[in-house]
Amino acid sequence: MTGASGAPQVSTVADLFAVAYEIEADAVDRYELLADQMETHNNPELVTVFRDLARAEAIHRDEICRLAGDIDVVARAQVMATWRRGESPEQAALGEAHYLMTPWHALQLALVAEQRALAFFTSIVETARDPEIRKMAEELVEEEAEHVNLVHRLLRKHPRPPESWSVDDDPPNPQE
């Protein structure tokens, strides 16, 4: 079941847990895929960055399972937590990947993804009629805000690379 925006319709607290679980699970899958791409294209620094991001999202995913208690979030997510339009909010943009990308680029992708997740849960807080849903969504907003802050802190350690970051003197597929 999806709402007008194509996002899943959250009608109960169980739905909210299922959606939150799916958002984190999708983020894990996406970072793992990006790490695999970097492994194939021999960018070991980025393999580490994306694997770390995947691990961080997996911790959040498992934490949501724990908070959900007896609710089978995995099964529920499979039935109702699907995005009919666009992608799950915390999935890093696959089309922005590049084989020479740097940690700064990876963190930029993560920042946008975290901000999208924050905006999604904020919209639930603003529209939920059920006080229980609103309360839980407020907690998720706080969590996502922490993640946004964390990415900002990490970006301090990884400044923007020079404009020449994508120049490859020995490109894998040169035009002749």
């Binding site: 194509g6 695999d36 791409q37 194939t40 499979q78 992608e87 089309g95 990947a97 597929n173 035009q175």
Partner: protein
């Protein structure tokens, strides 16, 4: 099994193989693979009843990345093989994957006649307007002004218009998708596979290595302004006058699919031998 039960039983990950794709990071084909697996899961099809057939090119690597039956065949000949497979094994779901070079140039003639025959299968062309695997030569859908070391001053050739050609040749379902919208694309693939006859789905899938300008496609695409029609004349007018970025199902025909009667294959070798007697 109800729709909900089927969705519980089938997950997109169930249709992925253990082989990791080697496409360039940023390539649109990653999203197309996701759309395939999401569509198969949505349809609840057993993977052993699906066959993904391809030719040659970046896009044609896709059968290896699914755990369905697959055939990574000869350049441009995927439709011929798929047609033979589908008429002899009509119980299978046959999906053919191709690119604009493989599908419209080397396999161009097969494309016309596959549309004409209207065999019940789905043809997906990942169109990036370039030969990516062979280092960036212009393809049939490359714009005439595409100016590179391999096409100095541009090709000066009019671009091939696959959707109009498919319509004129008799395809029974025509859609255009954008790889960057994998859920929307999966929904169209579900419809294409369900629709009887030859379904043609063109997916605009950027080549970030040789066509970095195509990263802008995400800003150009937009939903088709009207619902699909079953009137070929209307569909032709709409497709001919759009900007090439209308996304969605554009034509749903009602032609009966071609399915010849299948004779029982003989198991007696002496009978077979008689067929070869001069």
């Amino acid at each position: 099994m109800s729709t909900v039960d089927m969705r519980l039983a089938c997950k997109p990950a169930d249709y992925k193989s253990d082989i990791k794709p080697i496409w360039c990071p940023g390539c649109g084909d990653y999203h197309v693979l996701m759309s395939f697996t999401r569509a198969f899961a949505e349809l609840g099809l057993p993977s052993e009843n699906i066959v993904v057939v391809s030719g040659i090119g970046c896009s044609s690597r896709i059968p290896a990345y699914t755990n369905c039956y697959g055939f990574h065949g000869v350049h441009g000949r995927s439709l011929a093989l798929a047609a033979g497979l589908r008429v002899t094994r009509p119980e299978l779901t046959v999906v053919v994957a191709s690119g604009d070079g493989d599908g419209y140039s080397i396999g161009g003639n097969h494309f016309l006649h596959a549309c004409r025959r209207n065999i019940d299968m789905t043809y997906v062309v990942m169109d990036n307007h370039i030969y990516g695997m062979t280092k960036g030569q212009p393809s049939p859908t490359t714009e005439p002004e595409f100016d590179t070391a391999l096409s100095p001053g541009g090709t000066g050739l009019r671009s091939f218009h696959p959707l109009v050609i498919a319509l004129a040749s008799g395809a029974n379902f025509i859609a255009r998708c954008f790889s960057g919208e994998p859920n929307e694309t999966a929904a169209v693939l579900v419809e294409a596979i369900r629709h009887p006859g030859f379904s043609f789905v063109e997916i605009l899938s950027p080549c970030v290595t040789f066509r970095p300008d195509e990263k802008e496609w995400k800003n150009f695409v937009h939903p088709a302004p009207v619902a699909a029609t079953n009137d070929p004349a209307k569909a032709a007018r709409r497709i001919m006058t759009d900007d090439g970025f209308n996304i969605g199902i554009l034509y749903r025909g009602d032609r009966k699919p071609y399915q010849p009667a299948i004779g029982q294959a003989g198991t007696d070798l002496s009978e077979l031998e008689k067929d070869f007697e001069l």
